[in-house]
């Protein structure tokens, strides 16, 4: 029996935002035996069970959390993280990544399969789940590789991985270059009603580019990667998706970064194709200009783009074109990042500060409101990966994030639980602090106790 069984948790006086259930009001939440029992006014709850106020009920212990002035939302979901296990445990492990996730308010994450070796069969998927159970912090899902060894040649065992609980497939870090292989993957996946996610990057166009191809790559003397590398593959994939029977397989474009990609997605959605996409904080907050001092913490793939692309992404968010906000949390050691631009690895570690960054990028300038933001971090990603999460529905497993929307704090990488500190936001002041993270009815993170 779960040690949590029999325990009850009452979150009172908070402002509850639960987009899936169209809740956006001040109310209270009762959690019992890991599940949501009631989302409503405390008066009615207490009237029926007066013992709640006293902290006991039916002989069990009731923990009361006063959420006055706080936002109480379904546990946040980040459908794009890299936990580096197996293979690069010095950068991150499933345990350290999970600890970082709950500190960032995430009760569910989806690991990308580009580990060493990649997650490409049933046992690999089970390995991730086993490590996650042991870590006991956040729910950890994983995607499996589309192709064996992420080499883009032969299909990996999507069926077995799917049965083992993989929530989608991607060769992330790399796009599937061969259109015939990608078409085969989409066709084959029709059997399993899963999502095929793509890191859109045509390597022949991207070349050896380490930053956006543009004014800054020219004056910095670095090989550039044109946005066309992303757009060409995305456009190609959309044509492939048209060959697929409706209602079978879904296509998801990962970390889109250009105005051109936004237009391709807009057109695809207009045609009613089963296409979704995601965006990251760095593509909303940082431009190619950040690379001007050769700080490799700004080296990320897809690369940071010019201002006009940021504007297009924000407009897409305002229009509801972007389906999920993710971190693409990509931890790397300082020693790996203290290198020349041609030698350093791509990636930004961002799980622990993502929420504040989204507030800065999207809420403060009025692009979306809190319910809009929460929807993109809960209900929508849950739907894309097909998990029963992201809502505070009676009887469902109780994952909750409590946020202080007004608390301002300074991002300090030295306080990260992540093993890696490759984060260019160090020292930034942001608003919107995760106060408590509840996973399966259990408090797994509290800002007070750390």
């Amino acid at each position: 029996m779960n040690k949590n069984m029999g325990n009850e948790l009452l979150i009172k006086n908070g402002h509850v935002i639960d987009p899936a259930n169209r809740v956006n009001k001040k109310c209270d939440i009762l959690i019992s035996d890991e599940k949501f029992v009631e989302v409503g006014r405390i008066s009615s709850l207490v009237a029926r069970r007066p013992s709640l106020e006293r902290g006991t009920s039916h002989g069990s212990r009731v923990t009361v959390i006063d959420a006055t002035g706080k936002l109480v939302v379904p546990g946040l979901i980040d459908m794009h993280v890299h936990f580096r296990e197996p293979g690069d445990e010095e950068e991150e492990t499933i345990a350290s990544g999970s600890a970082a996730a709950v500190a960032g308010g995430f009760t569910s994450v989806v690991c990308m399969p580009n580990t060493t070796p990649p997650i490409e069969d049933e046992t690999d998927v089970e390995y991730v789940h086993r490590k996650a159970r042991k870590a006991r912090k956040t729910h950890v899902y994983t995607m499996g590789a589309i192709t064996k060894g992420r080499e883009g040649v032969e299909l990996a065992e999507m069926g077995f991985m799917s049965q083992a609980g993989a929530v989608g497939f991607t060769d992330d870090g790399r796009g599937v270059q061969d259109p015939a292989v990608m078409l085969r993957a989409l066709k084959y996946a029709q059997m399993f009603n899963v999502v095929i996610a793509q890191h859109c990057q045509d390597n022949r166009i991207a070349g050896s580019g380490v930053m956006n191809a543009g004014y800054y790559s020219t004056i910095l003397g670095l090989p550039g990667q044109d946005g066309l590398a992303e757009e060409a593959m995305l456009w190609r994939d959309i044509q492939l998706v048209k060959k697929i029977k409706p209602g079978t397989v879904r296509y998801h474009a990962q970390h889109i970064s250009t105005a051109g990609s936004v237009e391709i997605i807009r057109a695809a959605k207009k045609q009613g194709l089963p296409v979704t996409c995601e965006a990251t904080p760095h593509h909303l907050l940082l431009t190619e200009k950040c690379c001007a001092e050769y700080d490799t913490n700004y080296m990320v793939n897809p690369p940071l783009r010019p201002e006009k692309d940021i504007e297009a992404l924000k407009e897409a968010l305002a229009d509801g074109l972007i389906d999920a906000l993710v971190t693409d949390h990509a931890p790397h050691l300082a020693s790996e990042k203290e290198l020349e631009f041609l030698a350093a690895p791509f990636g930004i570690a961002g799980l622990e500060c993502a929420l504040g960054l989204y507030v800065k990028a999207l809420i403060e300038p009025g692009i979306i409101d809190w319910p809009g933001l929460i929807r993109l971090m809960t209900e929508r990603p849950a739907k894309i990966i097909g998990v029963d999460k992201g809502a505070m529905t009676k009887g469902k497993q109780a994952d909750v994030t409590i946020i202080d929307p007004d608390a301002e704090y300074k991002i300090d990488v030295n306080k990260f639980r992540s093993k890696s500190k490759n984060c260019p936001y160090h020292g930034w002041k942001v608003k919107g602090k995760v106060v408590t993270t509840i996973v399966g009815g259990e408090i797994r993170f509290s800002a007070e106790t750390g």
Partner: protein, 329 residues
């Protein structure tokens, strides 16, 4: 004679305070700073003409030539410049700078620093490598070419050569011809030449022009024939086969046809045009031998001037470092 006077005697002009202990690129320098380096170099050129070609300015200082790419002329030019200033020179050549095959750049530099070096002259295949070093080590860093970002001493010696022969760069029209995308010389030249008042045109096939080039202070032409008659100076870049990648032009034959500086083309050029080339020359490819060795060619003067310019740079960065360390001259 005071120390200051001795230095003024060596450099041949009044002594001002130089604040930069690194020379990473010319983009960040002002016209005044560039002019000051050129003036300083001019003094050192006169020194080289003396019977005793040495100044004691860097005596006891250790200069490391940290070269991760092939180089003969730049490396030797720096070595010569350092020895004329009485510095000790250590050669450190490491052709393969790939991190996967050994020590990182920073570790290499930190090791050298532990041996007490004062100035690192670095050439590296990655743009920004000298900037990276300058952030992590205390020694002065002089960029001897980083990827296709900058080659500041080449840029300086190019403008030095032009200034010496023409008095000024103001109003001059200069063409730089060839593979602009992969050329650090083109970039350093552009910054130095435009800051000193010249008008620069990059000439090459569109496949060898970098992105957003129109945002730089430069004119663009795909036709050497359109440009050849108008320019006062032409700088022919070497086709760097090792950097090209892909197939930016169909054949060497066709490239030479459109962009080679031939005797035929020279007939249409201004009679006093200066023909430059950063070397090494691919004879018959970007430039015909008769032109490279002809009366308009200043290619060997560039090499000669390179030593004086590098003496000036070593001298000035050392001066800035001494200043920052609180030492007086």
């Amino acid at each position: 004679m005071s120390n200051k006077q001795k230095i003024e005697n060596d450099i041949g002009h009044p002594f001002i305070e130089w604040k930069r202990k690194h020379l990473l690129g010319l983009r960040e320098l002002s016209a005044e700073e560039i002019t000051y380096i050129l003036d300083t170099a001019s003094g050192f050129e006169q020194l080289s003409a003396r019977a005793v070609k040495k100044a004691p300015t860097l005596r006891g200082k250790l200069v490391v030539n940290l070269f991760f790419e092939d180089s003969t002329r730049t490396r030797n030019s720096f070595a010569l410049a350092a020895s004329r200033l009485s510095a000790d020179v250590v050669e450190f050549t490491k052709k393969d700078s790939s991190v996967s095959k050994g020590e990182t750049l920073l570790d290499t530099a930190r090791n050298l620093e532990a041996m007490g070096i004062d100035i690192v002259v670095i050439r590296h295949n990655a743009g920004g490598a000298p900037t990276l070093l300058s952030k992590y080590i205390n020694a002065c860093v002089v960029n001897a070419g980083d990827g296709y970002c900058e080659h500041p001493t080449q840029g300086l010696l190019d403008v030095y050569t032009i200034r010496k022969l023409r008095g000024t760069l103001k109003g001059l029209k200069i063409a730089i011809v060839g593979d602009i995308t992969h050329s650090r010389v083109a970039r350093s030249d552009l910054w130095a030449m435009t800051k000193l008042g010249a008008e620069v045109t990059f000439v090459g096939p569109p496949t060898l022009l970098p992105p957003k080039i129109e945002q730089l202070p430069v004119k663009i032409s795909y036709s050497l024939d359109d440009v050849i008659e108008k320019v006062d100076v032409i700088n022919m870049l070497r086709i760097q086969f090792e950097r090209l990648g892909g197939n930016p032009f169909p054949s060497v034959r066709e490239y030479s046809h459109y962009f080679g500086l031939t005797v035929e083309r020279m007939k249409r050029a201004k009679p006093d045009i200066l023909v430059m080339h950063p070397g090494p020359i691919n004879r018959g490819l970007e430039i015909e031998s008769e032109v490279a060795d002809g009366k308009n060619s200043v290619i060997l003067q560039q090499v000669t001037n390179g030593v004086a310019v590098r003496m000036a740079v070593l001298f000035l960065v050392n001066q800035a470092a001494a200043q920052q360390a609180g030492q007086t001259l």
